[in-house]
Symmetry: none
Subunit: 121 residues, 4 copies
Amino acid sequence: MKQMSDNKPVFIQIKEWIEQHILRGEWSKGHQLPSVRELSAEFGVNPNTIARTYERLTMEQTIHSVRGVGYFVSDQAKELIETRRREEFRKETIPQFIADMNLLGIELEEFIKHYNETEKQ
Amino acid sequence: MKQMSDNKPVFIQIKEWIEQHILRGEWSKGHQLPSVRELSAEFGVNPNTIARTYERLTMEQTIHSVRGVGYFVSDQAKELIETRRREEFRKETIPQFIADMNLLGIELEEFIKHYNETEKQ
Amino acid sequence: MKQMSDNKPVFIQIKEWIEQHILRGEWSKGHQLPSVRELSAEFGVNPNTIARTYERLTMEQTIHSVRGVGYFVSDQAKELIETRRREEFRKETIPQFIADMNLLGIELEEFIKHYNETEKQ
Amino acid sequence: MKQMSDNKPVFIQIKEWIEQHILRGEWSKGHQLPSVRELSAEFGVNPNTIARTYERLTMEQTIHSVRGVGYFVSDQAKELIETRRREEFRKETIPQFIADMNLLGIELEEFIKHYNETEKQ
DNA sequence: GTGGTCTAGACCACA
DNA sequence: GTGGTCTAGACCACT
């Protein structure tokens, strides 16, 4: 059974887990997603929770359902996710991150060191 | 009346607003904070909400109360906040930030450019 | 409906009532606590009061919440409570108790007599 | 300026400070207490707070006022305080203390050791 | 005036 | 159903 972190709602965590697969190219367009039952078993959550995740992803046009068959990754899925996330990252995450660095006195050098160490792995 | 963003709970936003004042040195140790009623008027929220904020800050030993008198910034307040936040930033924020950069294909150069532009301001 | 003494705030009394259950081993790690509404009915207090109790126990890492599910006893709960209480007892309660004995002229023998009588019960 | 601990209301702390003097025999019956102004200066509190302390002690017949002269320790003061405190100590403090010892697994031997060490000082 | 506790009731997010 | 946040208003203890 997959492990989940705390804090975030479960259905958001599963949504992000799915988006990771798409972003990394592991699930490309047309790929069939695991069934609701399958995924609910894997995460140990109520099927309703998975249904809710799929519903949300459908609303965002990341996936689409084919009645009686299952859910599939949409054609534009990867681009949509990337665009949305990049924009948010540049407009909100980066400025906030830099503001925090300044406030806490974290130097750019320290960040670059962290970055390079992560890259090597 | 002070403006607040959405997303986060109000009492957390006010907590962070207070911590900013302390981190920036505007409210140093021994400084008396605005009274519960005063601050509730300033933010346009219920006094209970401010009381909750102060209660939490008290439990974190950032401030302390004197009954019938008011709330005061604790001696170790700034150090406590900085220590807590730096630890969280290094252990959680930075790794997550770098993971997102990689996932979204944001280059280190772009980040450094953002950083330098922010610095100049 | 459970009975409570006066003097102490209600939410503290309920907090201690919960800690007793944990200390006595009746509620071990992973045990699900009564829901906020359930306990508020049992003690005849407002749900907010129970929520406050649970919130404080959460901040002390004695319990933790799972949204939409409930509150659970944390793994380290018993040890945490015991450590905190023992420390307080040794550093504050015992010295104060002995000071009072001396001040009031209560002899050690009398205390030991009380102690042994209690033990037999 | 005298130091005060936290937690307890100031006027209670001052009340207990006065009672200590009487219990220890330092202020025997007929002894004139410090004036309100004097004591308020010594403790660094508002004169109202001292007035309230004296008022309470007067109500409990521990002291009495002579108009235009000051406050004096009553004849039965020491006995009154001792009786009240001893009763409370035997009926409430000791049983609670022993219950806590059992709950926290503090042995009688440890208590006696604490007791003897305090005695030597 | 200050903080501390509590009730009553609302609305939201989550499973 | 669960917890989480917030408002409105009350009463108390303390300075």
